[in-house]
Amino acid sequence: MILRLAIASLSARALTVGMTVLAIALSVALYLGVEKVRTGAKASFTDTISGTDLIVGARSGSVQLLLYSVFRIGNATNNVTWDSYQEIAGHPAAEWIVPISLGDSHRQFRVMGTTKDFFEHYKYRKGQPLEMSDGVIMDDLFDAVIGADVAKSLGYTVDSPIVVAHGLASFVEHKDQPFRVSGILAKTGTPVDRTVIVSLEAMEAIHVDWKTGARTPGQSTPADVIRKMDLTPKTVTAALVGVDSPLRTFALQRYVNEYPKEPLLAILPGVALQELWGIVGIAETALLAVSAMVVVTALIGMMATIFSSLNERRREMAIFRAMGARPVTILGLLVIEATMIATAGAGLGLGLLYCGLVVAQPIVDSAFGIWLDIDAPTLREAVVILAVVGAGVIVSLVPAIRAYRMSVADGMMVKT
């Protein structure tokens, strides 16, 4: 009955109580939302590449190598010679190796030369392989496979022609060797979506008439002549390597890092991704901290609301006291009230979060490639909810103790 009276008392003040509940709900939804995006972003990020044991490139920083080889951000300072590549491929620990050759672009998208093995060995999201949404893997020298974002933003379909520009952000295009879209990859949420993939030989073919970055004047080799040329590359930018047994990963890594003929670097993608996330993640942690402050603000707002209600409720407390309620009961009543407000707020916040997720999930996935799971609340979220309710209880102790003091001092008389 006391509980029912507490609820009746709350509903008699429905407007202010409702506002307080709403403030807590919004702050909780914001916090959980940020947390959700953060874990989603982190998962999508660290799931960018999986199944690859080592990434090999010219010696630089591990984050830099990861950035250009996987995220196609920035450029390699140096390449790996074809001989070195062959030697690493021949190492007994190397089960498979996929070369990557970068440097050209098509519109705003990077062009990557590789082998058909790339489609077999590149995995993302816990070992998920690449899949074609249309067409087939490149077969001809001048075939290209494009990522989902490339197809969507440029409106390409299978058989669309592609002209590759040499270098980045360059307007000099390789007009002589037009490519054809042979296949379009399904959306992955990884940088592959924004990549034009051609064969390693095609990468060479583009550059037949180019020496040191400028076009050799007057020279234009016809496509059929190029097809007959030896298009073995001199260098590759990086290589993805699979190791036959996890134990030998470090042996191969050491072999590459101590490779005598040129300075090379082999990195563990998982470790480098974590390292990179450590840099990228700071912003997200700051965002999380800000939204935690919003939750704290909402709880302090609740405290202020209870505080300001105390004076007008002196009479109510005196009645309780006269009927035999102990001062502790008055304290308990206020704490119960705060618990109900905080619980309602947290619960409503959780509801808002799920409503928001249902709306935002497809938008966030297509816009940022971040997949937000809609599951039952995780343990972490349950802990957050409990923490909000717990903090609400603690915060409410301040006005509750004041009410306790007032009801001891006033007794059952209230000066009117």
Partner: protein
């Protein structure tokens, strides 16, 4: 002495704080079923005395016995419980929790007094019975307290004080918010109930016109000494 519901002796109390107010009382008692009107000017310490009797404040000295029990020796929690079990309280006005129903309000003291709840038997039925005895319309029972007229609210307060039949009813100027006609009707109902159950009634007022209806009239200055020191 057995029949005394209330006995105060050698009680002294002063409010802490800057405006000092000290109340000293040698002897005051109330017999079983007796109705007493306590008259006194505003500020003469009537409400303070009632608070002492209810045990919400403790005297600096002296004993206060209710139904033979010295409440000054009880702990705070036990005093609250004792009040709930043995005393029905009626205020001047705003007696009820406005957001609760009439039933909620009448049953409220039983929440803190298991013994009194047992005495009340079927509490809901007892409350409904009191309501009809006090001439409240039937449908009022489930109505929110703040929808009632002032006169009706005071009658609900009487029902709340009477439920479970405590030995003593304390009323602090319960009629001062009512007009003359309602006052008379209110007192009729109150006396009907107290005489039916041999309940002692201590009512405080500054209005001497009510005197003739009580067994005994006591003036504040006859029983108590008051000291004021304005600091």
């Amino acid at each position: 002495m057995e029949s005394s519901v209330l006995e105060l002796s050698e009680v002294s109390f002063h409010w802490p704080g800057r405006a000092k107010f000290t109340l000293s009382l040698r002897e005051f008692a109330l017999e079983r079923g007796e109705t007493v009107l306590l008259l006194g000017e505003s500020g003469s310490g009537k409400s303070t005395l009632l608070s002492l009797i209810c045990g919400t404040i403790l005297p600096n000295r002296g004993t206060i016995r209710i139904a033979g029990k010295d409440i000054t020796r009880l702990s705070g929690g036990a005093r609250d419980r004792f009040r709930a079990e043995n005393i029905g309280v009626i205020f001047q006005q705003f007696n009820l929790l406005p957001f609760g129903t009439v039933a909620d309000n009448i049953l409220l003291p039983l929440q803190f007094a298991p013994g009194r709840r047992k005495r009340a038997g079927n509490a809901k039925a007892a409350a409904a019975g009191l309501c009809s005895d006090l001439g409240l319309p039937k449908d009022v029972f489930t109505a929110k307290a703040n929808t009632l007229s002032v006169g009706q609210q005071q009658r609900v307060a009487v029902a709340r004080a009477l439920i479970g039949h405590p030995h003593l009813i304390i009323a602090d100027e319960p009629t001062s918010a009512l007009d003359a006609n309602s006052q008379a009707a209110f007192l009729d109902l109150l006396f009907q109930q107290t005489s039916a159950h041999e309940t002692a009634l201590l009512m405080v007022s500054h209005d001497p016109r009510l005197a003739e209806r009580f067994d005994r009239v006591v003036r504040m200055e006859e029983i108590a000494q008051i000291e004021r020191a304005v600091a």
